[in-house]
Symmetry: C2
Subunit: 276 residues, 2 copies
């Protein structure tokens, strides 16, 4: 999917919402049995429910991988379902991979060719040759960790005793790599203080913003500092949507929560004149 | 496996060699058909051949994951084989994972409980709460990326215009985390200039050293700067061992190459009086 096609979806659905699938079998609705195979059924019902209000879906690899080949099989089944039923949804593998070139080539194949994701999250720690193999795929996108939403983001990403923070170096250096137009950046919603600065560094790049909801970030600040002329933001909510209810109404409750976020987003898209 | 048990193995086998399984089906010996299922057969024969000369085995996740659930199934089969046949081998999942706490918990379960690895490589980019869930497992080990062997290590890990390099910060900060006695560090064999300094920062920690052989690092420099009183080094070779021959003698050729490295290692262990 191209960025222009994504922007068309944003305007059509009046939403820049991504729903994160961090499916923990111990948090499933009581109607579903707490075993791995319920992950597919739960995810399918959540996607069916939130699809009208969201433009992106982000399965979290950790929650599949914990069940080994069985978990990976469930992810394959889920990606087949999404790609057939909802080809308009932008799919993000939240995998945070990154290794020397020959290994990153294999990871890129796994997520772009085998699972047919539109994008994958990648860790920048190992530098240019660890990221470039992901950038070789036409119309695929690479979302580089930059300034994350967790407490540990303070440990290395922000370095108060240096002139330049690591997250700034990551953004600036990576913009000089081949095919850097395919790069997005992860910027936590809890980091709005730095978001303005990041938007100045990469005025045209899309940003994936986690941390709304359960982690405490505020949408109003995110859009104030993060919007660009093509929206430029995909805001993720995971637990606050998918675990809206433990009852039989779980899919309905998730839809309601997604719709409420979509409604809020529609207001901001209008306010900033990105839609009429 | 405890560090003491590992050191006993090192003394018994007179070797601190790790064999990396980066099994690319396009590089298999002509006798094996180039399809994913050959990965198990090839790996099994390589392990049988090199086990007398090596103390550790390091499957590279990327090379399994590229085949999705099928690849993960092959890794499960391989780990069952190693854990039953060679319980004395120290097993390292070269996975380079790392995510917010709730996700890292799942990754830790995947590698330590489901696949029963002794250790896993982890990326430090997201900080303390992304690494600590891996440190909660008794007698398991967490190998943090510090200064890697690839060209991209120059991009962020080494920052010439700052007082302190990122890899030093990673080592120093992580030493203050809970259960830091379980932390190892990845230090590329191509980085011997910095190895001496790293050994001063963490005199007692084990270091995983890739980059011998195909990537150009020298064993003599690695041991000179890296040895400690418990050896403290596991040196990895992957391609230079496992692809020693394309012929029917591939396992024999791998054994010969591993034996030659073991012989060199035995010399250094004696020279530095770690064995008699």
């Amino acid at each position: 999917m191209t960025l222009n096609e994504l922007f068309q979806q944003i305007k059509k659905k009046k939403s820049f919402l991504c729903v994160g699938l961090d499916v923990d079998i111990h948090k499933l609705p009581s109607a579903l049995s707490p075993n791995p195979s319920s992950i597919f059924e739960f995810s399918k019902q959540i996607i069916d429910a939130v699809a009208p209000y969201s433009v992106a879906i982000k399965p979290n690899l950790a929650f599949f991988e914990v069940y080994g080949s069985q978990g990976w099989g469930l992810l394959e089944k889920l990606m087949d379902y999404i790609n057939v039923q909802y080809p308009e949804l932008f799919t993000i593998a939240d995998a945070k991979r990154g290794d020397i070139g020959t290994s990153s080539e294999k990871y890129a194949q796994a997520f772009f060719k085998h699972l047919k994701f539109n994008a994958v999250t990648v860790s920048p720690y190992m530098g240019q040759d660890s990221v470039e193999p992901f950038l070789m795929y036409p119309d695929k996108h690479v979302i580089l960790l930059s300034l994350t939403s967790n407490p540990g983001s303070q440990d290395f990403q922000i370095q108060s005793d240096n002139e330049k923070n690591l997250f700034e170096r990551v953004i600036q250096k990576s913009q000089n790599w081949s095919y850097s137009e395919k790069l997005w950046y992860v910027v936590g919603a809890t980091q709005s203080f730095h978001l303005k600065q990041i938007r100045q560094l990469v005025p045209h790049s899309y940003l994936l913003v986690p941390g709304i909801g359960a982690q405490g970030g505020h949408l109003s600040e995110v859009v104030e500092y993060g919007f660009n002329e093509q929206c430029g933001l995909i805001v993720n909510a995971s637990r606050s949507i998918i675990y809206s209810s433990k009852g039989v109404d779980f899919a309905h409750a998730a839809a309601k929560r997604a719709r409420s976020l979509q409604f809020e987003m529609e207001g901001f898209l209008k306010k900033y004149e990105l839609i009429e």
